[in-house]
């Protein structure tokens, strides 16, 4: 019969006491395991969320704030940067030589932030976000669980959205659903709904385990069309947006600003040029000027019909070149807006004036555009590696924007505040385990007075002092280990049971079988603790006076 079995029998003999002692150990270890697993998962999620691109460019301000609101959809966006600044980051392709800051850049993806729907933040971006960026440590690609990603064209696509998995589930969003977005972040009392422009859900993302599961992505072009989103333009620049020359060859200097009054009326007078309207930044005001040119009224009517129909249903939408008559018939435009599904009541703050007119198929002029951040993926070659540092230096040197390495910021955050928080939680959890260990000691020690006779019997049968001491130590180790294993199992069971809730609340995916390497320390740690707390009762066993104990039992 092994000493382990003798120890186990002793534990069995004191069933209730052993159970309670083991339970306290299990609770302590479960706490440690939960802290380790949750911290590990959160750390990985934080790190992985910042994967997929190299830099974030945004307005001057806190670096961490820029990362938090761009990557994690937390905190407030800092400010916006000019759209032209984003254009400087766009790499060249074909005849397009690329922006001044685009050297080494593989792709630059704009983000417009600050709006929300329901409890979830809205991220306005371009289709390239899904097509060219990846997420996670292994470079996974975004996939739609349902539907598809939105596209750049035709204009109907501007009013489409792709919803993160958690947001879709919690906000009960379905394909084909139309929704307005609210200007302002969730829980902001000053937030107000924009019913003028509605977005149709065309895709629901597969879970990514990143904060993007809790985001709603809308097409940036449609986002710009929401009234509050156009940057006010000084009167002198009223006609600034429409500049074909700029569109074609002026992705130029970083200090390029929108040229004033760049609109060329003659170009609009040429019918064949209207094809360009879908692609380039026509100014709203510029088209208001067009209306005086008495365009073909039938085309204009077709366009209004298109606006009245759901995006994608209008055959005329593609070809409608402008809205020349809309101001002449304001009621029709207004009705069109309502018929397009803007019947949702205000959910937060005030409603916008429904009489405000929106040219659904007109892109916002570039001089009225701003972006909150730009995600920059550098080329995976020497040029990309070299120029990422140069780019950060150059951008940070200027007055307009800042560039940050998100992984560095996240690592700093984890090692700083979050790391300390983990340490505090771990210390507390370890203290609970130590208290549980003391419970083991007290339990065994108290039993020693009753077990003096047993120890004496074993001694009379030939067991040495060392042997009985070992049996007591093994008892302590068994009790602690069993409690510990039960604690680890309970912790992972609890994590598994709470997984849907955790994912729903945080977007962070935690699995029941997600183990941390640091949990392995628990086993030798527990053995060490058990040996330590078992030492005192074991010493008592060692010192048992056999003759006295046997005589007392007579």
């Amino acid at each position: 019969m092994s000493l382990w079995k003798i120890a186990w029998r002793s534990i069995q003999q004191r069933g209730l006491s052993s159970f309670l002692t083991g339970l306290s150990m299990a609770l302590g270890v479960a706490l440690v395991a939960i802290v380790l697993v949750i911290h590990g998962v959160v750390s990985r999620s934080f790190s992985e969320a910042a994967q997929g691109y190299n830099l974030i460019v945004g307005a001057k301000g806190g670096k961490l704030q820029l990362v938090l609101n761009t990557v994690f959809h937390l905190s407030q966006p800092i400010e916006n940067i000019p759209y032209s600044y984003y254009e400087e980051l766009i790499p060249g392709e074909g005849a397009h030589k690329g922006g001044k800051l685009s050297r080494g850049v593989e792709v630059a993806i704009p983000f417009c932030l600050g709006d929300s729907f329901d409890e979830f933040r809205v991220v306005a971006t371009t289709p390239e976000f899904f097509e060219k960026l990846s997420y996670g440590s292994y470079g996974e690609r975004y996939k739609c669980a349902q539907g598809r990603f939105f596209k750049g064209q035709p204009w109907k696509e501007w009013y489409t959205a792709v919803v993160g998995s958690v947001a879709a589930r919690q906000a009960n969003m379905k394909l084909g659903q139309k929704f307005p977005i609210t200007h302002g972040l969730p829980h902001n009392v000053n937030a107000h709904a924009h019913d003028e422009v509605q977005f149709e859900v065309v895709g629901i993302l597969e879970p990514t385990g990143t904060p993007n599961d809790r985001a709603i992505f809308v097409n940036m072009e449609g986002f710009f069309k929401i009234p509050d989103h156009a940057k006010p333009v000084p009167k002198g620049d009223a006609h600034a947006g429409h500049d074909h020359d700029k569109d074609h060859d002026a992705h130029g200097a970083a200090d390029k600003q929108e040229p004033a009054a760049a609109h060329d009326h003659d170009k609009h007078a040429e019918p064949d040029k209207h094809e360009d309207h879908d692609k380039v930044g026509h100014g709203k005001d510029a088209h208001d000027a067009d209306k005086h040119d008495a365009h073909d009224k039938h085309d204009a009517h077709d366009k209004h019909d298109a606006a009245a129909m759901p995006p994608g249903d209008s055959p005329a939408a593609k070809t409608a070149p402008s809205d020349a008559n809309k101001h002449a018939e304001p009621d029709k435009v207004h009705d069109a807006d309502h018929e397009a599904g803007h019947d949702t009541g205000p959910e937060a703050g005030h409603h916008h004036d429904h009489h405000e007119k929106v040219d659904l198929d007109e892109p916002l002029p570039e001089n009225q555009r701003e972006v909150t951040a730009v995600l920059v993926l550098m080329k995976e070659n020497t040029e990309g590696l070299t120029y990422s540092q140069v780019l950060v230096r150059d951008i940070n040197k200027g007055n307009v924007a800042q560039a940050v390495f998100p992984t560095k910021e996240v690592t700093d955050l984890m090692q700083g505040m979050v790391g300390n928080l983990r340490l505090i939680l771990l210390v507390l959890a370890v203290l609970v385990v130590v208290v549980a260990g003391i419970g083991v000691m007290v339990s065994i020690y108290n039993s020693m007075s009753d077990r003096g006779r047993e120890i004496a019997i074993m001694r009379s049968l030939g067991a040495s002092r060392g042997t009985v001491m070992t049996v007591v130590l093994l008892e302590s180790i068994l009790l602690s280990l069993l409690g510990g294993v039960a604690g680890v199992v309970a912790a992972h069971g609890l994590i598994g049971a709470l997984e849907p809730w955790i994912v729903g609340q945080t977007g962070v995916s935690v699995g029941m079988f997600q183990f941390e390497m640091t949990e392995l320390i628990l086993i030798p740690g527990l053995i060490g603790l058990a040996a330590l707390v078992g030492y005192l009762p074991a010493l008592t066993a060692y010192r048992t006076d056999v003759a006295k104990a046997l005589s007392a039992s007579h």
């Binding site: 029998r9 002793s10 047993e454 074993m458 067991a463 060392g466 003759a547």
Partner: protein, 223 residues
């Protein structure tokens, strides 16, 4: 086989006074011999058995078993010697409550340093009439059965000397005889010397040799 010479043992009382318990100038038992040691309460019977078993050390004197003075052995050596050469049956049986009858017998083998012989343990339990009670824990056995398990356990390691301390004190007359017969038969069959302490005349009367501790122990006899 067993030779005791000039052993003395005393205890210190709480007030510091020394209380002599044993002073046995000579006592011996031959190989396979069976004898009874009688004595009134407080005459030092149990103390003498503890010293013979190496469970406590005399203040002076020697205890030779098969020519080896166990008083000269370190404690761990005495433990090993006891496990291998001495069987002990207690008045209160002293079975470990968490273990079955078979496990109690195996436990006797565990500390011997050899691999426990489960077959011998079962044979022993069969010989004491408990073949169908091996899995029972002590509280499920009668007192007579418990004492039989204790006898089987004491014989587990084929000892050279079996010490039985009032083994019939807590059992009825019927079971007393069963236990005495069992002890005598098993010791005889295994060639084990038996020293049985009792104060029951009926039990003592069955043995050829009966020693009175009052006569052996000078602290009692005043000799």
């Amino acid at each position: 086989m067993l030779l005791v010479r000039d052993i003395r043992k005393s205890y210190r009382e709480p007030d510091g006074a020394v209380l002599p318990i044993l002073d046995v100038p000579h006592f011996s038992v031959a190989v396979g011999e069976q004898m009874v040691l009688m004595g009134r309460s407080g005459s030092g019977k149990t103390t003498l058995l503890h010293i013979l078993a190496g469970l406590s050390q005399p203040d002076a004197g020697s205890v030779e078993i098969d020519g080896l003075d166990i008083t000269q052995l370190p404690e761990a050596g005495r433990d090993r010697f006891r496990a291998a050469k001495i069987g002990y049956v207690f008045q209160t049986f002293n079975l470990l409550p968490g273990f079955s009858a078979l496990e109690n017998v195996l436990l006797g083998m565990t500390f011997c340093g050899r691999k426990p012989d489960a077959q011998r343990a079962k044979d022993l339990l069969g010989r004491v009439g408990l073949a169908n009670r091996m899995a029972h824990k002590p509280h499920m056995l009668s007192v007579g059965e418990q004492q039989r398990v204790a006898v089987a356990r004491a014989m587990a390691n084929k000892p050279r000397l079996l010490l039985a301390d009032e083994p019939t004190a807590n059992i009825d007359a019927h079971h007393q005889q069963i236990v005495v017969d069992l002890l005598r038969d098993t010791c005889r069959s295994e060639g084990v010397a038996l020293v049985l302490v009792t104060h029951v005349d009926d039990v003592a009367g069955q043995f050829d040799r009966v020693e009175k501790l009052e006569e052996l122990n000078r602290t009692v006899s005043g000799g």
